[in-house]
């Protein structure tokens, strides 16, 4: 079976994560000189029975100004750029196929946001025709095509969602907050839902999750119908914090990786897994990232959640999730005030 075929089998629940992750590691170690240098420096090489937690992770900032592809440049069919929230130079993620990306993204989108099949979707987020270098816009295009009814489409004003059939509204936290604050009397039809992604990215004063949920409630969308999505240009898979219509109160939300991915929460100083309930850096292992690197150490902080009788992923094998805490404060240029503020 080819590697892509085994990744598709993993997405469909017909292969073991540990096996596919090991195969992807072997492929990326062999195909990427840059990644191989990192692995060799850390004295890690593909081996039978290698624990997936030992697969070397690449710092997410490596996607800026550094080629991490496992294929020749001429085979590139798509490129996504990160939003560049904290750096002028945006991360770049090249793909030699979007088939794996689409398969995983739509399987996950469907499970979390369209479990009963096609529905009306109104996106505040532009689609891929307007933003071809945005992975989020690409996902919007696929979602409209795969799960949207004829009444679906992009509407950056969002006003069309207030009339007609109940809609699943797709938006960034920034876009949703602005939309609802500018239209304080807007009421969405009963049965509407919201997919919220991203943050405020320094574009305006931030609202807390509670503030956002109050805005949604005021617009007629209860918290059970609001689902948070976590993803990034540097990864192929997405994380969701609930299933539409069944999502718990905001304070109980946990982002679970797809059944075919994993998340570790690691101590920034030691890179070892933190204890359950503790906060650390998010490190994602996503075999669907076959064309680049599957293990990515982000600059995001999260609280580690291990599955229990009270909290568990909605499907798939037991695996850790996280509560998103925020962005890590990274070391920058220092002077005599290196440690702490006065």
């Amino acid at each position: 079976m080819s590697l892509d075929a085994s990744i598709l089998a993993l997405i469909e629940g017909q292969a073991r994560f540990e096996d596919v992750a090991a195969d992807v590691f072997a492929h990326q170690y062999s195909a990427s000189a840059a990644y191989r240098r990192l692995c060799d420096a850390q004295q890690r090489a593909p081996a039978a029975e290698l624990d997936w937690r030992l697969i070397p992770a690449v710092p997410i900032e490596a996607f800026r100004g550094q080629s991490l592809t496992c294929f020749p440049p001429e085979r590139c069919v798509a490129t996504f750029l990160s939003s560049g929230t904290t750096s002028a130079e945006r991360g770049r993620h090249d793909f030699d196929t979007l088939a794996l990306y689409r398969a995983g993204a739509m399987r996950r989108f469907g499970a979390a946001l369209a479990p009963t099949g096609r529905r009306r979707i109104v996106s505040l987020i532009p689609d891929a025709s307007a933003r071809p270098d945005s992975s989020l816009s690409q996902m919007v295009s696929w979602a409209l095509e795969t799960f949207g009814t004829d009444e679906s489409g992009v509407d950056e004003s969002g006003l069309s969602a207030a009339t007609g059939a109940p809609a699943l509204v797709l938006g960034t936290a920034f876009g949703l907050a602005t939309w609802l604050e500018q239209n304080p009397t807007l009421q969405l039809p009963a049965g509407s839902a919201i997919m919220e992604t991203g943050g405020f990215k320094g574009q305006r004063q931030e609202l807390t999750r509670d503030d956002l949920f109050q805005l949604y409630e005021r617009a007629g969308v209860p918290s059970a119908c609001v689902v948070g999505e976590y993803g990034m240009a540097e990864l192929s898979s997405q994380w969701y914090d609930g299933v539409v219509g069944q999502a718990g109160p905001p304070e109980t939300r946990v982002y679970w990786p797809a059944p075919w991915a994993r998340t570790r929460v690691v101590d920034p100083q030691t890179r070892r897994d933190v204890a359950p309930g503790e906060t650390g850096l998010l490190l994602h292992v996503d075999p669907v990232n076959r064309g680049s690197v599957q293990a990515v150490l982000t600059q995001d902080l999260g609280r580690r959640i291990t599955p229990s009788a009270d909290v568990a992923p909605p499907d798939g094998p037991p695996r850790d999730g996280f509560v998103y805490v925020g962005r890590a404060r990274l070391a920058a240029l220092k002077g005599c005030g290196l440690v702490d503020e006065p």
Binding site: Q66, P268, A331, G335, C336, G337, L338, D340
Partner: protein, 363 residues
Amino acid sequence: MSLSDDELSVRCDELSAAVRRLLDRADPLHERLVRQSPYFHADTLEAGLSLSLGGWTSGERLYRHVRAQVHASAVPPQRAVVVLGGVLPPSHVQAIAYPFCLGADVLIKPPSADPLFPALFAEALGRHVQLIGGADVPAAVRAADAVVVVGSDEAVRGVSALTPVGTPWLGFGARTAVSIVGGQLGADDARRLAIDVTTFDQRGCLSPTEVLVVVGESSRVASSLADAMRALPPRRRTGIDEDALTRARELAWLRGDTVFGPESGGPERGEWAVIAAHGGQFTGTAGGRHVIVRAVDEVSAALAPLRGRLSAVSTNVAVDVPALARLGAARVVPLGSLQAAPPEWPHDGRLPFTALCRYVGRD
């Protein structure tokens, strides 16, 4: 009221005597400092104190400098507030010395991360200084006639916002140094460069986070520097962003840069690193004895991202001093001397004693 010679002399003697106590290995204050510091290995602290504060031990030298800098008609501050950040003893000494030597009563807000050194220094000074808490800062700053802040840019801006417009003010924010060398680095120069890089574990504004190599390859210089750094005692990891250092090494490996470091994969891993880079512009590191050695064609272009943030330069080649000054450099010195900033140093390009006084025109 101007500053009399006698008053100035007394204050300078008191300041230098306090510094001598902190350098004197037989003094209990020195012992407490070395024993209790959470941030520095004893050897590192001893070496750093000796190098950085040696020029502050002569009251006579201090007096002559201040007297030359501050005109007899200048009106010195009577009451000053010094807000300290970071863990670097010499930066704390300098910040306190500026208003203290001018005759002011000094209120000192120690950094929350490390109140030890300021407390010991205040104890050594004995009188005319008092420690205050963070909650006292706003009122103290409003009532002060001079304010000195050492810390992050954010902290400097925060205290600046509290300070009435027109109050004599000094704010020392985030800065870094660089070293500039030729393509060949002999053992002595390598040792001196290692001193520049590793003093106080590279935590301060006078610590270089990059070494620029003009005419030559970075790997050869990096190798020589690494040999010199290999012999140093271990560093404390407290207060160092180890994640940033690990990422720096990982990014270097991904780029194909040569990374020199401890050979062992055990606890020593990450203790220090010399990264041989090729071309590009200054990026710096988060310190912790991690330094980038970068071969460049043109120094000013390579240092462009550092404009306004460059504190000082150590070098063993001829350099364009005015160009470096325009990038912010207030010291250009031989290798090994970066951390030995004397009282005469125009800190961040300013005349600190002069800046804290007022001047009255009498037409």
